[in-house]
Subunit: 638 residues, 2 copies
């Protein structure tokens, strides 16, 4: 570019972007399709009880890391926060399943975490660590996990997540310290506060409230529109991606070429501006990212649009957030950048490569804030850099609908606590405005991915229904001592993951619910083939025959299948005593229970199965109506 | 003092302190005893389900506000954070019960909040607003409510609490703006960040970790000792206070006289220090609070101990947190101040006046941090002001055991995000160390006050018990259509607040649980006297005869009593149809359910009553074993 060879410069730019995008896309498509997208919907769905295949496998983890680096480096308009959350959750889950047996990386000590509850807690902490690492915002990470990702929270989790992010902060601090000498490229840049660039002392008065409220209202509208467009584009992309792997790669190739053309082409429409004389920065800047890009301009001139487009995302945000730079950008440049960033963000997300939404929205919001500041002009005395920060908050609030966590993340990004009341106000206004139009972006993505999601609140119609209205049959129960053939038959013909065990005479006076047995545990019993010949209570000492390890939760996505277990005809006629392996304290509701209240129980206690008991105590009815309530969660493998 | 009249100065000091303390104590003892103490234990107990008498009445609110101002002004070593939390919760609760009918201050619109759930949510938001106002820390307030006060949380509450504290922040900011001109005395001082005094740019390295870890360990030990001593002193005070109102006043008088003597006497043991020459502050400062107190010293000299003792709490904290003041204080002065502050805090809390624990602990912790910094000496390059901040964190972590909320509060107090990793580390270490010794200070206070408290986790022994082991009899049930006389008899002879309603033949084929009816609702029915003459299903249209208002939750502490309802002998022989007034969807468990799991259900879903169903479905047993599980919460009036 310095020598005026614009054509070959563009060729190099395009080629390197194309190569990096293709690397990410090929890895994702051929090695680990589960690594595509941000990963936050998958983590959210997992914590809600839906364990999609391979989302936490070692392969996914590696592709996510490599692919995310390639995708972000390829100038695509994608972020790194979402992939980092997924990475954190992946590492946590792999630790929780005791390493990866497939690749012979196991650790004996980790087997204590091999159960659903601990793995869920670990994944929650892992996602907190992801945001903490992405934005160097430890408290924001904890709140993000609490507000957005997790469906279920307990107080002990709060300080465990806090401990996780504290470790992230300490390690980050140590690495930044180590990198102070410039050994690690851009890593240490920005220190622990990534965008510590706003004015030292912020003053604002009541007269600044109307512009800020306007910013919030339109931020809400733009945010909900963002979600709307994203929804449409993703539906279109899904149609294309379904056609095959080649189409996925073609789509990624098209978008990266278009993006490169945009980034290289649009700065040409901006006129060159003369360098300010009073700045400390070198102007124009040559050979480094940052502000005052030279691009096609002459000496002592800079292209303001190139400073925005032709930069790393971090540097662009830093430029926009900087205080005292009200005259650095043309209004037309900001407008072009805002529009391009808005739509590039929407069109880049659905590609088959690791990509986050957080940073594009922050970037677009910052441009939006500057735009509003310029339109308001002298009506407000606030710095345009502050407007950029508030604009980011408005768009984040409008699109992701988070409040406390975004607020804290923005504080931790900019180190400007005095802005707190304004940021809170903008966030709340934009959230409320956007909530009037559609749902938040993560719920939308979860729905598009086809994950069932159980909300924490009951819909009004659920108050009119009782659980007996939604129970589906036929009911499959087991006796306390059950014939092997019957168990095999039931497991083969149904997809249920839990079955009620009912004691019948002579083992009890009348049919009575004994408990609930899980499919996984039945499979362990069948595999062990410790059967008895007759239908009598066995004297088997379960704790001697079985070890804790055998019933431990298998690795994510790995499940025994009934088809893999071969049993002889003789064995099928034998019996097995289910009593020692049954959960004797399942949660139950009466059939007359309101569906809304059953839902609350299901969500608040974090259940996977809920037994429905008959209201009437007539003997003849009992057995038939001890019904397994098939809430949507039971269909998952969780 | 300036004229050397030390005797009369002391007399004025003592008299004004004595008068203010006595004002607070007399108000508390004679008008609203519930206003004594910090109020956080009461709010915590309320949110756990225990509604102690008068804790949220208008009288309590007024005494709390006036008394807190008097107590803090009287130089007693008490804080304002706890009382502000109680004040916020009080206002929220009064709003939630639609104003105060006793004082003819009601608002029709507020009646929509007249139910337990909305009032609980309002009180949670109110306590968040209290911390937000006390420390000008809106995010810290939300987290405090989440981490410490509330027993039950849902995601919608997060942004509602956030909205509340955002309003607090905006109003605070507007008032500070208004007070910039100096119209409001000390109010505007410090701005939105109360202690924005630490070094501009903090640098710390790995070598600073050992001193910081040491600080955390000893902070944890000192914090748990603080709790231990506080427990002993409060037990002693309880013995004294039980003897009568005069003893309460005498105790308060004794402590205020001792405190005044300490504050005035101890500075004499410090030698005068020459004023530093390079400071911008006036030295010695005369006629205002702040640093460099003259006290008995000559011109160009100051008494460093007086700067700590003879100041408002806020100014003392600001002095201790200030960066670049390593030589301002003698080590002996800091030691004396630390010891005095530690024990004055413990001895001042249990008096019969509004008093908080937060500020004394912060103050003591700041002195502790400075002390450690001086002991370490040149081993660490960190500023002593930073050590003071970390010391506060250590003692707060050791005494209150909060993590995220204290961390955020400290950040919002000092505006120093770069300290985040160190603050997190210190908090976690001190919490873990202190947890090894005893429980946190709020649980301790809740226990001392005699409030039952249901923890969110199950004790190990509960896993060995089933709910049938803890159910107490005799069971009282009602039929769907019940004789008035029987209802009156049961209400008079038991203290239960909920009763199962069981339909028996001919209304159902066999005895079946219909639902749960509350004592309050039975009293409404009895008061209305809408009885029927025979035991047949009535054609009464309940929604016509009763309005929503009649079943609305009464004001805090106000309850109908069965003794106040007079019924004639004829009316006692009549019947009442309970069906329309029964909760048809009570939560139930089987009698074989593990006690631990029932507890989880009780806490997570936020229940007050839990019905225990028989496991066996034999007709003859059902009616006798539909048992009301008397968890400790049912005994409260909540």
């Amino acid at each position: 570019m310095l020598q005026g060879k614009h054509g070959s410069a563009f060729a190099v730019f395009l080629a390197s972007n194309f190569a990096l995008t293709m690397l990410a896309a090929v890895l994702t498509v051929f090695v680990a399709p589960a690594a595509a997208g941000s990963g936050i919907p998958e983590v959210k769905a997992y914590l809600n009880g839906v364990d999609a295949p391979n989302i936490f496998s070692l392969k996914t983890l590696i592709v996510k890391i490599v692919g995310c680096i390639a995708a972000v480096s390829s100038s695509l308009h994608v972020g790194k926060a979402g992939p980092l959350v997924h990475t954190g959750a992946c590492i946590a889950s792999i630790l929780g399943q005791g390493g990866s047996r497939k690749y012979h990386m196991t650790c004996k000590w980790l087997r204590y975490f091999k159960n659903d509850r601990d793995r869920r807690d670990l994944v929650t902490c892992g996602s907190a660590a992801g945001i903490a690492a992405a934005f160097r915002a430890p408290v924001g990470g904890v709140l993000f996990a609490l507000e957005t990702v997790s469906s279920w929270w307990r107080s002990a989790l709060l300080w465990r997540a806090f401990f996780t992010t504290a470790m992230v902060a300490v390690v980050l601090r140590a690495l930044i310290d180590f990198c102070k000498s410039g050994k690690c490229g851009l890593f240490g840049e920005g220190g622990l506060i990534m965008f510590d660039v706003t004015a030292d002392y912020v003053t604002y008065h009541l007269v600044d409230l109307p512009p800020v409220i306007t910013l919030g209202v339109f931020g809400g509208i733009l945010g909900s529109l963002y979600n709307f467009f994203l929804d449409r584009v993703l539906r279109l992309y899904n149609l294309i991606n379904e056609k095959g792997k080649t189409y996925k790669l073609l789509l990624a190739a098209t978008v990266t070429v278009c993006t490169s053309c945009c980034l290289f082409g649009l700065p040409w429409i901006a006129s060159c501006k003369p360098c300010p004389t009073d700045t400390e920065e070198a102007c124009p800047s040559i050979g480094r990212s940052g502000n005052f890009k030279k691009f096609q301009c002459g000496m002592n001139e800079y292209n303001d649009l190139a400073s925005l487009f032709f930069n790393t995302n971090d540097d662009t945000i830093r430029n926009l957030y900087s205080a005292g730079t009200d005259d650095e950008f043309h209004m037309s440049s900001i407008l072009v950048f805002f529009a391009a960033s808005y739509f590039l963000g929407i069109f880049s997300y659905g590609l088959a490569l690791p990509s986050g939404l957080f940073v594009p929205v922050i970037l677009t919001g910052a441009a939006y804030g500057r735009l509003v500041a310029m339109l308001i002009g002298s009506q407000s005395t606030l710095d345009h850099g502050l407007f950029a920060v508030l604009g980011s908050a408005a768009l984040l609030g409008g699109s992701m609908r988070m409040t406390v966590s975004v607020c804290v993340v923005i504080l931790e990004l900019t180190n400007n606590l005095l802005m707190l009341p304004l940021v809170m106000l903008v966030l709340l206004i934009s959230k409320v405005v956007a909530d009037a139009f559609n749902t938040n972006v993560y719920d939308l993505l979860v729905r598009l991915k086809g994950f069932p999601h159980l909300e924490g609140y009951a819909e009004p119609y659920m108050r009119q229904l009782s659980v007996s209205d939604v129970v589906t049959g036929p009911l499959q129960t087991f006796s306390g001592i059950e014939k092997v053939g019957h168990i095999v038959h039931v497991l083969k013909t149904t997809g249920h993951n839990g079955f009620p065990v009912v004691d019948e005479p002579p083992f009890s006076d009348s049919p009575a619910l004994y408990g609930l047995i899980l499919r996984d545990h039945l499979l362990v019993l069948l595999r062990k083939k410790d059967f008895i010949r007759s239908c009598t209570a066995s004297t088997l000492n379960a704790s001697k025959h079985f070890t804790h390890d055998e019933f431990a939760k298998r690795g994510s996505g790995k499940q025994d299948r009934i088809e893999d277990i071969e049993l002889s005809a003789e064995e099928l006629e034998m019996f097995v005593d289910l009593h020692p392996f049954t959960n004797k304290s399942p949660y139950t509701v009466l059939e007359t229970m309101s569906l809304a209240k059953a839902l609350i129980l299901f969500r608040e206690v974090g259940l996977r199965h809920l037994l429905v008991l008959p209201k009437s105590s007539k003997v003849s009815h009992v057995c038939a109506s001890v019904t397994l309530l098939l809430f949507m969660l039971s269909i998952s493998g969780f």
